[in-house]
């Protein structure tokens, strides 16, 4: 079983629309995992039934038991995050400020402070309209995505793919270059980089590829809106050649791309020309993924 991870570094490049199209093309052969938990939009195109909701707990949050508190103020003195204000003459924890370091609980003389794992969101295992299963999550306000949550979504997806003998897990990866994207990439057989030919698009592509390289994962690239700036587009292609990244396709700027999403459809269902380009990319991805692990 293979793992195909789609990432972009920068937002707004069309990553999720493209991933949804790949999910449509792969159909029942895939299990889909949405690890772009900060902006989990893929469900809007996949019509999930939000099956098996499960609460997700992460990090720590301090809680002060007012009966045991002797109001010595030591907790407030050690807190570097100003998260223990006095309200109505009681020391209380500000949940948006608390980083969960646990220092206050360690030094409280009466052990009045405990740490609990807060509920930071929900995880779902849904049936979707491509005839397969999608694992996805929804975060609570102010909650951070983490390597832990991404690993959970991916593990559920991989376990299902094993049992049901699927060809691959298709992962919509996290943005940025931090811990969540490290967790998204970890274990990948092949990674698809989605970018656009803008100065910021190229900048972010270089940054996220540093990470891919460190993991030693083979990569391919889709340049979206390829024709809006031929010059930057050429720069991107030079970069791909230099780094031995497969150019999967160059999708022209086309309003149909967004129209499809507006109609709740993937691009391959909505427009024949764009659909053909993405189908060809998918064939290339499958070929490249199959050959991973073969002796070179």
């Amino acid at each position: 079983m293979k793992e195909i991870v789609v990432i972009s570094g920068k937002g707004g490049t069309g990553k999720t629309s493209i991933t949804a199209s790949l999910a449509y093309l792969g159909g029942e052969d895939l299990i889909v995992a949405d690890c772009d938990v900060d902006a989990a939009d893929m469900h809007l195109l996949m019509a999930p039934d939000f099956g098996k909701p499960e609460d997700f707990f992460s990090g720590e949050l301090a809680y002060i038991d007012q009966d045991a508190c002797i109001k010595c103020g030591k907790c407030q003195a050690v807190c570097r995050f100003d998260a223990i204000p006095i309200i109505d003459s009681q020391y209380v924890v500000d949940p948006l400020g608390c980083e969960g370091c646990g220092y206050c609980a360690r030094i409280c003389p009466t052990e009045a402070i405990t740490n609990s794992q807060p509920n930071v969101g929900k995880c779902f295992i849904s049936s979707i309209r491509t005839g397969t299963t999608m694992v996805h999550a929804r975060l609570s306000i102010g909650a951070d995505n983490s390597g832990k949550l991404v690993a959970k979504v991916k593990n559920e997806a991989k376990a299902l793919a094993e049992i049901q003998n699927k060809i691959a897990v298709l992962v919509d990866g996290s943005p940025g270059v931090g811990c969540p994207v490290v967790s998204s990439l970890s274990g990948a057989s092949f990674t698809v980089l989605v970018t656009e030919p803008t100065v910021s698009g190229l900048h972010d592509l270089r940054r996220v590829y540093e990470l891919v390289k460190k993991f030693g994962i083979k990569a391919g690239c889709i340049i979206n809106k390829g024709d809006i700036n031929p010059e930057v587009s050429r720069e991107i292609k030079d970069f791909l050649k230099e780094e031995n990244i497969v150019l999967l396709s160059e999708i022209p700027y086309n309003v149909k791309f967004t129209e499809a999403m507006t109609n709740g459809k993937t691009i391959v269902e909505y427009d024949k020309d764009l659909g053909k380009i993405i189908s060809e990319s998918w064939e290339k991805i499958l070929r490249a993924t199959r050959s991973v692990g073969d002796p070179e």
Partner: protein
């Protein structure tokens, strides 16, 4: 010499886990005594961040000299492995532990 494999099970026939930091198990093969040990790493699931360095620390405690895994470890884990002098071989994510050992012996794995 002790060689550690990231694995989804506890013996030489287990499939490799391509991940490093959040690997389910290690299989530890001692080339001198031909003995096979394993370590259950699944409690790492509870860690929100920093799974890589923590797993690398465990490996060092086992006195491993070589690590064979799938994808290369991320930045912090790589630092720990380098500091503790553990050699890292990657690209064995799709094999069993036994196959990974053979690939390592015959020089078919990339080192980082």
């Amino acid at each position: 010499m002790k060689i550690v494999f990231t694995a989804k099970g506890t013996d030489m026939d287990a499939a490799m886990d391509p991940r490093f930091g959040r690997t389910e198990y290690f299989v530890i093969f001692d080339e001198d005594t031909k003995s096979v040990e394993s370590y259950d790493n699944r409690s790492i699931e509870g860690e929100a961040h920093g799974a890589g360095p923590k797993t690398a620390q465990k490996l060092a405690e086992y006195g491993a000299e070589v690590l064979v895994t799938g994808n290369g470890p991320g930045g912090n884990a790589a630092t720990v492995l380098k500091t503790t002098g553990i050699a890292v071989y990657i690209g064995a994510g799709d094999m069993t532990v036994k196959e990974a050992y053979e690939a390592y012996k015959s020089g078919n794995l990339k080192t980082v």
